[in-house]
């Protein structure tokens, strides 16, 4: 069986589910961020797969590039916020940080 659209889509679906699993089960904020990156990557696989097999052509590549740009911005801001939280609370467990303001 030749590799077709469905193969890539299934890989992307499993990757997405694993990302969701990571986001739900972990306390550590950075681990949540990692789960988020997995989800974004699975979306990217879909974009590129459709650009080859779905006739989306180069526009799928562009969408993936924009996703990568946003992921970079998001990671930078998220890590800055996590650092700030760490300075205030001395830990970064998302369960224990319930207050908006001290």
């Amino acid at each position: 069986m030749a590799i077709g659209l469905n193969h890539y889509l299934i890989v992307s679906a499993i990757l997405f589910a694993l990302g969701i699993f990571g986001i739900i089960t972990r306390k550590n904020a950075i681990m949540v961020l990692m789960g988020l990156e997995l989800v974004l990557n699975s979306a990217n696989i879909n974009f590129i797969a459709f650009s080859k097999f779905g006739g989306l052509n180069i526009e799928g590549h562009l969408a993936a590039i924009f996703v990568i740009i946003l992921a970079a911005a998001e990671a930078a801001v998220a890590l800055a916020i996590i650092l700030n939280i760490y300075q205030n609370w001395r830990n970064i467990n998302v369960d224990e940080i319930a207050k908006m303001k001290e």
Binding site: L18, R26, L38, I48, S51, I68, A72, A75, L79, L83
Partner: protein, 167 residues
């Protein structure tokens, strides 16, 4: 089974196994380093799909940028020997619930993807994507490109500001 299929299954296995390690590992550093292989495998899948520019950008931004940031973040904020996993009865319940949700999501998405009536069509040109990407970025997507550039600038300035602020 030709070479192309072998390479596809190889990269798919790398992606899925390393993603499993990312979400299941008890050591946060293992998770972070395992993420390297996930990103690398995804880049390999991109290259298999004739998206060489996106594949290399993936390595460039994810491995060279985001992953380094994440590892620095881990080192600064965590006692790197272990990671807190939800424990006790509620933790177990949560684990089971998350597992079920994950399984359901995966099955649902897979079924949807397999049974979906996708518009299929072959891609027109498989070589030299960079010229087309460049042209499109400068014409049709110029607004989105500029917006993304400004967003990045604002995000980095904001990140620097937040990160520097003393508690």
């Amino acid at each position: 089974m030709d070479l192309f299929e072998i390479i596809f299954y190889f990269f798919a296995a790398i992606v899925l196994v390393s993603a499993l390690v990312v979400v299941l590992s008890k050591n946060i550093m293992y998770s972070a380093f395992s993420l390297l292989f996930t990103f690398f495998g995804v880049a390999g899948l991109f290259v298999l799909l004739n998206a060489d520019f996106v594949g290399i950008t993936q390595i460039m931004v994810y491995v060279g940028g985001i992953l380094v940031l994440i590892i620095f973040g881990v080192m600064i904020t965590t006692k790197v020997t272990g990671v807190d996993i939800k424990e006790g009865i509620s933790g177990k319940l949560q684990y089971a619930g998350a597992g079920i949700i994950t399984l359901l999501t995966a099955i649902f998405l897979s079924l949807m993807f397999i049974n979906g009536k996708w518009i299929t069509g072959s891609s027109t040109d498989v070589h030299a994507t960079i010229h087309q990407i460049g042209t499109l970025l400068m014409t049709k997507y110029i607004l989105a490109f500029e917006a993304a550039a400004i967003l990045l600038l604002i995000a980095f300035i904001g990140a620097a500001l937040i990160g520097r602020r003393k508690a």
